[in-house]
């Protein structure tokens, strides 16, 4: 046994170094954008020779960028509300009941996770083009809800799995009606799943490019669609500033639910 100790230790070392390298590969490209966005030169450079906020100023003073951001917030909020309402309700039905067609319905709800965005975008575009929903925020909300719905269902279902239904029966046997039971017993217990699902739905819409490329038209350009148009032409450093803000938003959204969970348990 003793003889295989040194090679094993070397093996573990190689494993740790290799894993570290993969982690660096994953995180560095994202982090490197942040200092570059504060550069003062006319093009992106790393490391920046001196710092400035010029690209942030450009973003906040360009009406087209701000308009696109506004559209994105509007669409993402709409998607979040619609997907959370439909998805939470559906998760209840899927987790708590066995019924004919349940597996088929589950496949239908989850399939947008895996069917390529381009197929969904084309299909919805072909229909929406006929009913004047191209170039409207409403069209984008409806399409993004298809993509966001499985995220809500998965998150809410995960909290419902570990849910003890007898607390609901206890509330009801003490005289609470179904609505009061949901409001005061069920909802507080599954809130982490609903909050996480809602945040995922928001981000899924806010970052979505492919559907937006088809459905934005000229009148409902979202932020990712405008970034896409810009990136296709040139590497505009303004994109680095916007990217930095999007990365920080992603960090916040990742950390927020855990903070909320901490609060509800304390």
């Amino acid at each position: 046994m003793r003889s295989d100790r040194p090679p094993r230790r070397w093996g573990m070392l190689a494993l740790y170094v290799g894993s570290g390298a993969v982690l660096v590969f994953l995180i560095v490209p994202i982090l490197i954008i942040i200092p570059m966005s504060f550069g003062s030169a006319l093009s992106l450079e790393f490391p920046p020779r001196s710092l400035s906020l010029q690209w942030y100023v450009k973003y906040f003073t360009t009406p087209a960028w701000l308009r696109a951001t506004g559209t994105s917030f509007q669409v993402a909020l709409g998607t979040m509300i619609l997907a959370t309402a439909l998805g939470t309700l559906a998760a209840f039905g899927l987790v708590r009941r066995r019924f004919v067609g349940r597996d088929l319905l589950l496949a239908l709800i989850l399939s947008p996770l895996i069917i390529p965005g381009i197929v969904i975008a084309v299909a919805i575009y072909l229909v929406f083009a006929r009913v004047h929903l191209v170039g409207s925020p409403l069209g984008l909300v409806l399409a993004h809800t298809v993509l966001a719905l499985p995220l809500v269902v998965v998150n809410v279902a995960a909290t419902l799995q570990g849910f003890d239904e007898s607390v609901e029966r206890a509330a009801m046997s003490l005289g609470a009606g179904p609505i009061r039971t949901f409001r005061y017993v069920t909802f507080p217990l599954i809130r982490p799943g609903i909050v996480a699902g809602a945040l995922f739905a928001f981000m899924a819409s806010f970052d979505e490019v492919i559907v937006a490329i088809f459905l934005s038209g000229r009148t409902a350009t979202t932020l990712p669609k405008r970034m896409w148009d810009s990136v296709l032409l040139e590497t505009d450093p303004t994109i680095a500033a916007i990217s930095t803000m999007l990365i920080i938003l992603a960090m916040l959204v990742l950390v927020l639910p855990t903070l909320g969970r901490g609060r509800s348990t304390s």
Partner: protein, 277 residues
Amino acid sequence: MRAALRPWAAVAPATLFLLVVFAIPIVMVLALSFSGPQVGVQHYARIVTTPVYSRVFANTLQIALGVTLVSLVLAYPLAYVLSILGTRTSIVLLGLVILPWFTSLLVRSFAWMVLLGQNGVINRALLSMGVIGRPLPLLYSAFGVYVGMVHILLPYMVLALYSVMRGIDRDLLRAAQSAGAPPWRAFLHVYLPLSLPGVAAGSLLVFVMASGFYVTPALLGGPRQTMIAQLITSEINEAVNWEFGAALATVLLLVTLAGLAVFNRFLGMDRFLGRRA
């Protein structure tokens, strides 16, 4: 809740919504792909008989397969290390996997444009160190597409492997070794087979997602790395040939559904709801 919520009442709104905004449009794409000047399989015949199109399909499958293999090789050791570390360390390190996964795909592809370009971070660094005499063609190449796509899909593979590896009882490895198996044999005959469900789930997921990629190959690849999704977009938006675009989309959809069917057959959709099938 029991009495108040009939099963169909709870799932009806989502079902109705998905039928109207998702399922029916997909069926309309299928129908459209068989129409055009005349009803029939003409568009499919054109895909099969035109070398340009079959090459794009071959490209797509080749890139998707390559990206899956590279992701698997990179993710396996990382997921293993994450699964054996203490809870606190592994949560922090998992954060480093999840943050990129949660960051916009467009932002990540843009980051790679900045890193890989002619005047990009990597070329400038290598030039200033004197490693190379002139910039390497990293961007708009197969290399760019592979790096970008692996970067974007790797977290899925890591998470799929990690969720299975965390449940593997490592005492089995110790038992195999105390019975005389050298570590590599214990790994090959005990650990690897137990981790295969994660390998299958991760690989299938990454392969299926990779075959539908649009943004990353469009930004990081050259004309020779054109993938199906780019072809579909140009047929619909530029050539305005909806029927042919619909046929291309149908073929891509079939590839995806085949993957989904395999997944469901071996692993079960219930996995997504947090239950072991």
